[in-house]
């Protein structure tokens, strides 16, 4: 009987993608052990989950497959080059606080950059990270990984429709009549969103997919526009061209709710389907058909992902997508609008919490004196009104900046692994080694921790409370499932301790206290109390009022009232430019980075889940056309070496009918087949998002496969030992 009492069921939100699926854990609390995990009903998932939801909790058991859990604070007492030594929390906090203080005094507040985490820590930790950066360090140099994924969506949407989030909700997708997926493969990035697309198709929706590969989404589409990689702007401009020149626009909507039509037409008039066909490789007929089909419904939805944002013209493509929806009056009603579907579990939330260099929590501009005054009053300090720099510019402000007074000298990285996730890793490693003081706060050893001066161990998802924001603006609770093992603390508590040690006391008893401080400073979130989240399960922002009547907002821009200052949407786009680095004789293939459905982010979590690792493991794959494989004499599974101007990696060859000759694709989660050794660090000038989706590469055959296999195994063992896994421990 006594044993039964300790078994408890705890519902929480999945820690993987932005869909925000609800999972139910059965836990033996006495044994601190997970007995069962399965999906339960939630607003977005309706009781379903993908493989990561079903089997992705296993890293909580620290199986030490890819990397080991961080369990003690560590510092390099004798500076760079000396070993990381385990110390008490007090010593670690003092060490970090003293160094931050020293750097701030010597080089000024803008010599610091904080990277918040869009993963496990949650919204409350995100709020604390930006508050620390702004109130304690005195700078707006705060950013997070949205920069390397959907920053272009935030920038492009805010410039046109005023709000950088999905205008519609995930459940609305299934009632759309036309779904235009561009650079978005829901099947790999959000299987539970893909489920809605499948349902929409069964209900009769027409599905269009613009993608250079035959993705799963392309495969289930009614029309696949297999465009040349990097030609998105030409395609969307030509769709606008057809919509306008064939008079398929919603005149009333455009007249009442938009401006900038003349300037917009001035740019898109050149993009006739015939002209766009020469850039995209599509047929003018398919372009016309797509434009007509899209404009034919008032329930047309555009969904996009990294396939448009991770280009140097990411923001431009987003602006034009928003314009297409405005031209056809596809905003402000259910099942229409724009859907930049967020990749990581809390990347929407980390944007919401103001972990961005230009906005406070709730998208309030740092340059607005009234807003600044409000936060100064609340936090009791003078704040900077200068927008900060983006994290993708760290190399520029470290190794490429000649003047030491303008450099970044301290980098506080929470729950991110730039040495795996950022483009051109050689450059990143050099940068990390040259920053005077690097702090890594994380749950696992990772590649960045190797360059850190202090390593602070945090609790993981499942070991703390809080809330995440799903991709469709839904605040949902996450709950503590297990007692954490080791000398770890929640992220928010670590940051608060550093702040306090620096002379700015930050004390909260729980995450709800942090949340309550935040919502009172952010009108759009004020009504989203913990109590409301408990009652409704999910509260979609804007939610202005704490009263029961305000249940949140299902879709944005109701009746065509946009979130711009004057409520009017702005039609915008730009002329097409080719990608920065194109194929050449030395590197004849285009390389695009894509996603492995069973793995997540930098793979510290899923790489340590037994089932997900057994489904797919190192050194990953490079997808190649059958023609290119024939030319090089490659067979499936063979180990190959992939080169770009910046580096080379080993991976396995996967011949597939799904890619076109001349283009190759690598999933970014692998540590051996780390495609970011190859990618280019050129950035979108507006969003500073890197061009992961296009660079020039070459694949080479390795004659001695037995040697190659041994070499890969050796690299794997080396990586694991660098991540502090001792082989005997694993086998025991």
């Amino acid at each position: 009987m006594a044993k039964k009492v300790s078994v408890k069921e705890i519902q929480t939100t999945c820690c993987y993608c932005g869909t925000g699926c609800q999972l139910l854990f059965t836990v033996d609390q006495d044994a601190n052990k997970i007995l069962d995990v399965h999906p339960v009903w939630g607003r977005t998932n309706e009781g379903t989950a993908c493989l990561k939801g079903w089997y992705g909790w296993d890293y909580l058991n620290d199986p030490q497959i890819l990397t080991k859990r961080l369990k003690e604070p560590m510092i390099r007492k004798n500076g760079k080059g000396s070993p990381l030594e385990v110390v008490s929390w007090d010593e670690a906090i003092k060490f970090v606080a003293d160094n931050f203080k020293k750097i701030k005094e010597k080089w000024g507040p803008d010599s610091f950059l904080g990277a918040a985490s869009a993963r496990g820590p949650g919204n409350e930790a995100g709020y604390i990270t930006q508050k620390f950066t702004r109130a304690v360090m005195g700078t707006n140099n705060i950013d997070h990984c949205a920069r390397i994924c959907h920053a272009a969506s935030v920038a492009g949407s805010r410039q046109t429709i005023g709000e950088g989030a999905m205008s519609l909700s995930i459940p609305e997708i299934e009632n759309a009549e036309v779904i235009f997926n561009i650079g978005y493969n829901a099947a790999a990035s959000h299987p539970i969103v893909a489920r809605r697309i499948v349902k929409a198709k069964e209900k009769g929706a027409f599905i269009i997919c613009a993608d250079p590969r035959i993705t799963e989404t392309a495969r289930i589409s009614d029309l696949h526009l297999q465009l040349k990689g990097g030609s998105n702007v030409a395609l969307v401009n030509s769709l606008a061209n057809v919509i306008i020149s064939e008079d398929l626009i919603d005149h009333e909507f455009v007249k009442l709710h938009t401006k900038g039509f003349d300037e917009f037409w001035e740019i898109v008039k050149e993009y006739t389907p015939e002209y766009a066909a020469t850039i995209t490789g599509l047929s003018p007929e398919d372009i016309r058909f797509t434009a007509r089909k899209y404009a034919s419904s008032k329930h047309s939805v555009i969904l996009w992902g990294m396939g448009i944002t991770q280009f140097s013209q990411g923001v431009e493509t987003v602006k034009c997508c928003c314009s297409l929806a405005m031209l056809t009056g596809n905003f402000g009603r259910p099942s229409c609008g724009t859907g930049p579907v967020r990749g990581q579990n809390n990347v929407q939330g980390t944007c919401d919490m103001g972990d961005l260099p230009d906005v406070y929590p709730g998208y309030q501009n740092v340059t607005d004196p009234e807003i600044q005054a409000k936060f100064e009053k609340a936090w009791g300090v003078k704040l900077s009104n200068k927008a900060g720099i983006q994290l993708t510019r760290v190399p520029e402000f470290v190794i490429h900046e000649k003047d030491p007074a303008k450099r970044i000298h301290a980098y506080y990285i929470t729950g991110e692994d730039p040495a795996q996730s950022d483009p051109d890793l050689e450059e990143i490693r050099e940068t990390l080694d040259q920053v005077d003081f690097v702090v890594v706060q994380d749950i696992f050893w990772n590649k960045t921790a190797e360059h850190a001066d202090a390593v602070l161990p945090a609790t993981a998802w499942g070991e703390h409370d809080g809330c995440y924001t799903s991709s469709d603006r839904g605040f949902q609770r996450v709950r503590k499932v297990l007692e954490p093992q080791g000398n770890v603390l929640p992220d928010w508590e670590i940051t608060c301790r550093i702040a306090t040690a620096m002379g700015y006391p930050m004390h909260y008893n729980n995450t709800e206290e942090i949340w309550n401080e935040m919502i009172d400073l952010c009108p759009k979130f004020t009504g989203a109390t913990y109590e409301k989240m408990e009652r409704q399960g999910s509260v979609q922002w804007p939610c202005w009022d704490k009263g029961h009547e305000d249940t949140g907002t299902m879709f944005l821009h109701k009746d065509g009232h946009f979130a711009t200052p004057d409520g009017i949407g702005i039609l915008k786009t730009s002329p097409y430019h080719p990608p920065t680095e194109v194929e050449n004789t030395e590197f004849p293939l285009s390389l695009c980075t894509v996603r492995e459905v069973g793995h997540y982010s930098v793979r510290t979590m899923t790489g340590n889940c037994r089932m997900l690792r057994n489904l797919e493991d190192e050194p990953g794959w490079v997808e190649m056309s059958l023609e290119d494989c024939d030319k090089l004499g490659l067979r499936e599974g063979e180990i190959v070496k992939v080169f770009s101007k910046r580096g080379s990696v080993y991976t396995r060859c996967k011949p597939t009918e799904r890619v076109k000759q001349g283009a190759v694709y690598m999933t970014y989660q692998w540590w051996i087949g780390a495609c970011n050794e190859l990618t280019i660090s050129s950035l979108d000038p507006a969003s500073r998002t890197p061009e992961y989706k296009y660079c020039a590469a070459r694949v080479e055959k390795i004659k001695d496969q037995a040697w190659a296999k041994e070499e890969v195994a050796r690299i794997y063992e080396d990586l694991r030992s660098r991540m502090h896994i001792v082989k005997e421990e694993v086998l025991a």
């Binding site: 299987p191 495969r219 037994r610 089932m611």
Partner: protein
């Protein structure tokens, strides 16, 4: 009539949640506690991806199974409308692999070690989770409901519906 699992390629998104669920069902929850290399990850269904199709391939549980007819050791048998392999009897002769018209059987290594130190190899195929779960695990976990267990009742109902439609159409 034997039951079988039918995949709907319009719904399948190729995510392979079904493959993992198959291994979890057959190996038991202990695999969340042991070294991931200490057992063999052998799903009993196979994801096939061509340019236009993604779908898992399962055993059809044929009424006159070619695998059973070809089995040299009498390891393949039918019980409660499911075609099963008696793993103890199986000698790994591969006749079933050759005989199966769907490619739904394969020979896999088990964790069992033979006298000479080599791993024992046996035929592996879908058993509709007989004896390991109340219903086929792959059907239960599929996020897009792309898999369905088809029983004799389901089939006769569907046939009756089609006949009804055909008869009504004939009137017009």
């Amino acid at each position: 009539m034997n039951s079988f699992i039918k995949a709907n390629p319009i719904r399948c998104i190729g995510c392979r949640t079904c493959l993992i669920s198959c291994v979890v069902a057959h190996e038991g929850k202990r695999i969340f506690e042991i070294d991931p290399d200490a057992y063999n990850f052998n799903p009993r269904l196979f994801m096939v991806k061509t340019a236009r199709v993604s779908a898992p391939v399962h055993c059809r549980h044929c009424e006159n199974p070619a695998c059973k007819a070809s089995c040299t050791s009498g390891a393949i048998y039918v019980r409660d409308n499911v075609v099963l392999v008696d793993t103890k009897k199986c000698i790994g002769c591969k006749n079933c692999v050759i005989a199966c018209p769907f490619g739904a059987v394969e020979i896999v290594e088990t964790a069992e070690v033979q006298h000479d130190g080599s791993p024992r190899k046996i035929a592996n195929k879908c058993d509709l989770c007989a004896g390991v779960a109340d219903s086929p695990s792959c059907v239960k976990v599929c996020p897009t409901q792309a898999l369905a267990l088809v029983t004799e009742d389901d089939l006769s109902e569907s046939v009756a519906d089609k006949r009804r439609s055909a008869a009504v159409a004939a009137l017009v």
